[in-house]
Amino acid sequence: MRIGVFICHCGSNIAGTVDCAKVAAIARSWPDVVYAVDPMYTCAEPGQAAIEAAIHEHKLDGVVVASCSPRMHEPTFRRTVERAGLNRYMFEMANIREHVSWIGKDMEANTNKAAELVRLAVEKLRHDVPLTAKQFDVTKRVLVIGGGVAGIQAALDCAEGGVPVVLVEREATIGGKMAKLDKTFPTVDCSACILGPKMVDVAQHPNITLYACAEVEEVSGYVGNFTVKIRKRATYVDWNKCTGCGACTEKCPSKKTPDAFNEATGTTTAITIAFPQAIPKKAVINPQYCRQLTKGKCGVCAKICPTGAIMYDMQDEIVTEEVGSIVAATGYDLMDWTVYKEYGGGTYPDVITSLQYERLMSASGPTGGHIVRPSDGREPKNIVFVQCVGSRDKSVGRPYCSGFCCMYTAKQAILTKDHIPDSQSYVFYMDIRAPGKMYDEFTRRAMEEYGTEYIRGRVSHIYPDGNGRLTVMGVDTLLGRQVEIKADLVVLAVGIEASRGAPQLAEKLRISYDNHGFFMESHVKLKPVETNTAGVFLAGVCQGAKDIPASVAQGSAAAAKVLGLFAKDKLESDPQIAQVDIQRCVACGKCLRCCPFGAIKGTEFRGEPKVQVIETVCQGCGLCTSTCPQGAIQLQHSTDNQILAEVNALCQC
């Protein structure tokens, strides 16, 4: 082999504490190294041109660059060597900046260490082989999981881009949490007015297939070629016939059904349409409360339905869809705040969640938009908002900030004043987090124009005072004194958590999730929409707390990723994947059992059972390689021999 070595000075970044010329000189003494230099800036255009020239001039068939982290410039230099006619995998990098020059000042030790790291790269390169990517077809359809605002945006953008969309929503209607909100910050425009048209677009778009009351059951396949099984839950109403006239909901005798859409602030009927603007506007029977389904007698809705849509014997149905990409937009749920026993743990009716408060304020809510106390229906005058209930609180396992509570609390305080002009609002806060456009101005308005009293401190205790009001005990840490407020209503800004079932879905999608169930993006800064599974993208709060504008932006970003993926007719697979030496394989199936991606399947070779790697599914983790006792399955570009070469280069006592 003819190897060229380039020891980058990176200005003084490396050369300041590493003797680059000496490293290059040492490198020249190693086997197969025919050329070693120490340029000033290897990644700059002249630096790259010098590599290309050296490849031609010295007939190099492999290149080592020692410079910054390969996480930074490995792709850059791979393109460089490719331009000069080498295979892009005949290239290795040694990290002598982040791992050497920047972490120590001892020139002798650094130079020695740099030389050894270059030696590792050279030894690995000596075991490199050219690898070529394979091409495969793409199914240009996308599955969007979750019909909240992020999912809606992703679905609409994809559909507009000409890609057929399958939108799966667990609830009976799309709209998600945003549909439950009364107004939105910082413009205080009506949530239903801005979301409603988008929801209608989803229903009417020819490219969108909507499955409501449906969940993803199983996902198999790989980027470009996923097969998804979707469970359509029995709604007991034939939606092809249901016109959404609502006659059934008026006559249903089971009127004590908890109203999930209204966050249990009111009751509804066993057959119901979630809310007037629901999409799809179809009735659904709640089987736990339907008299026909629980007791076997009633049948009122079936009699009243003008189209004969009621089907009491309906069963769940599984539909299979083929898609090339998946967008997860499963949103969030509120955490169970009743763990806060000091706030009554759910026993005081006038301590409610902020989402319940939204429903009380909403014109489509159970009270028609009149703010009243759940306990006695009276209008509250003193309202206390408590922020960070289950946010930034390690004691309940929620160390993270829920992001948007500061803002909606300010909004709710403003709206409260609009609804009840003689009311007084108090907000207990830890810090005001209002970094968005027009956000800080908005919270200022709540304080200055609307006279909301902001108290920096936590609430330690809420208890009924015996006269129908609540006593809120807290602390004002700015004044350094205790505070006691008589409240008619307490609204808790309850922290968010990943949507119910998020980890299970993540496992079906084979994507990672954090300790709190939020899905992991591929890179926190540079790949916030991608996941570690190619072709699966994230939108909205399922990835981490964010408000509506950010959710919409991420929905569009996910759609852009999908459209970008589908802009190609063929996809290329990364050749750094596992490969089976069919002779060595004894089909013991250990690799098959532990492959995180299901990328290994059984096969036959000359009548003998063997395994093979599904090239498009393999993500290149190499778990199989370290599992196979006979070394029959080798991760290309990180083979046993390559890593052993590195180990042996370091340790030869």
């Binding site: 982040e98 050894e116 990672s512 300790n515 013991c588 006979q630 070394g631 180990v647 280069a649 370091l650």
Partner: protein, 482 residues
């Protein structure tokens, strides 16, 4: 390669590309000063780190090895680090039996954002190694030879099994034989005190079948070669566990194998028997009684009491009756449950780390590198493709050094982690009598302690612990580096 003499130690780091390598980058970008000893090898995932890379590095002179991956649940490949955690924890518990201080190996989790944590990990680990000093090398340790003390109290009375239902078994084999390619059992070998495997193909062959303490071979070793053919096998309790393990790995099909079982009362440690007998010309007779055998050779009678001359594994045997069988004969043997450290392992337990290194140096100097241990192992399923004979992958050199030979033992032991049933064939087959079973026993003990008492070869349906994981491992203490 040279380390800076007296200043640096040789520390090898295996870092996953996505989290820890990024964390080390983050530390660098933050100019977080670190000791210069560590050399980082970038791997895609901590799951890619074969524990044998670590052993290779340590045997080759590394003073310390550090593996770092993504935090549990944050794996770029969703579960690679969960597997790594189990395998590396087993490794950590395995190293001391080789005589390597387990403080020289550490695994941890550092995310790409945790530059400070990385600095802390590197600094702490390097300091720890500097306190320990350069690692003692196998070749530098003065060879030490010691023999395990086999006199133990068994969990059940050991005997010779001469009253068992051998005739019923023979009748059953004759009846079943027409459906089978052959039935594997034992027969008399060169004399009545040495038994060898028997392949019964005709009803006449059945008469050759023997039963008793000389049936030392594990017939399960032959089963994979018959894969796809109907075959019968006569098993002792320990052999049955090997059969179960082969079933678990789909190396044989359950419907192809007919298992005949007799309760085992123990087998003799033939190495010690032969040593006591010495050289002889004529074996006059072998007499069995309930507690042992008397072998008369060249006119001299030698009595071998089972309680004193059984194989080490027999004392702690809890499965004298097969865990899986199609046709059972004889009265099952009762076992009093209890903990016994096998004598080979107890021998090593009693030594200091330095003594163990000396011990293995001495033993490995005697090793012939004949691979009899491998060939006798029923779970060495790689057969012709063992990595010890291969250049791709090229794990071992052909050098005849204690280091390479001990490395092979580490390969065998770690490849058997969670699979070894402790049948002891490796040690029995060793022509120079090296107690290599101890290495496997240490791993089996660690597997049991870490994974809720898991023992290999008990249930064909079970997922072996190193091919599975739990998100929260109850018995693995995550070291938090505080």
């Amino acid at each position: 390669m040279s380390v800076l003499e007296g200043k640096e130690l040789r520390i090898v780091g295996f870092l996953c590309n996505w989290c820890s390598y990024g964390g080390a980058d983050t530390a660098g970008v933050a100019r977080a000063t670190q000791p210069t000893d560590l050399r980082i090898i970038r791997v895609p995932c901590s799951g890619r780190v074969d524990p044998l890379f670590v052993v290779r590095a340590l045997l080759n002179g590394a003073d310390g090895v550090l593996v770092s991956g993504c935090h549990p649940r944050d794996c770029h490949y969703s579960s690679g680090n969960f597997y790594a955690r189990r395998r590396l924890e087993i490794l950590k518990q395995f190293l001391p039996v080789l005589g390597i201080d387990d403080r020289r190996f550490e695994y941890t989790w550092v995310s790409a954002a945790e530059g400070q944590r990385w600095q802390h990990v590197v600094t702490t680990f390097t300091e720890r190694l500097h306190n320990l000093g350069p690692a003692p090398q196998l070749e530098d340790a003065a060879p030490l030879l010691k023999v395990a003390d086999m006199v133990l109290t068994a969990l059940r009375p050991l005997g010779t099994g001469q009253n068992t239902a051998l005739d019923e078994l023979k009748a059953a084999i004759v009846k079943k034989l027409p459906e089978l390619e052959c039935v594997i059992g034992w027969q008399q070998g060169r004399d009545a005190a040495h038994h060898v495997p028997l392949f019964i193909r005709t009803p006449d062959d059945v008469n050759k079948l023997t039963w008793g303490p000389f049936n030392v071979n594990n017939p399960a070793v032959y089963l994979p070669t018959f894969k796809g053919k109907k075959v019968g096998i006569v098993v002792k309790g320990c052999d049955a566990r090997s059969v179960v393990e082969l079933l678990q790995e789909h190396l044989i099909n359950r419907e192809d194998v007919t298992i005949f079982s007799l309760p085992c009362e123990g087998t003799l440690d033939m190495a010690r028997v032969d040593q006591t007998l010495g050289r002889y010309t004529n074996l006059d007779k072998v007499e069995y009684d309930e507690a042992g055998v008397t072998i008369t050779a060249d006119g001299t009678a030698h009595r071998f009491c089972m309680a004193d001359f059984a194989q080490g594994k027999c004392y702690g045997c809890s499965t004298p009756s097969a865990v899986l069988a199609d046709e059972r004969f004889g009265t099952p043997v009762q076992v009093t449950p209890g903990e016994i450290t096998p004598p080979e392992l107890a021998l090593l337990d009693a030594m200091s780390l330095e003594e163990r290194l000396s011990f293995w140096h001495g033993q490995m100097e005697r090793c012939l590198r004949c691979y009899a241990c491998r060939n006798a192992c029923p779970l060495c399923v790689c057969r012709d493709y063992c990595v010890s004979d291969s250049r791709d992958p090229h794990w071992m050199t052909q050098e005849d050094t204690p280091r390479e030979k001990l490395f092979f033992q580490a390969i065998h032991a770690l490849h058997l982690a969670g699979r070894c049933t402790g049948c002891g064939e490796c040690q029995r087959a060793c022509p120079v009598g090296i107690p290599i079973l101890a290495l496997r026993q240490q791993i089996a003990r660690a597997v049991g302690q870490l994974f809720h008492g898991y023992a290999a070869g008990m249930n064909p349906e079970e997922v072996p612990p190193l091919l599975g994981y739990e998100v929260v491992e109850e018995n693995i203490q995550e070291r938090d580096w505080k």
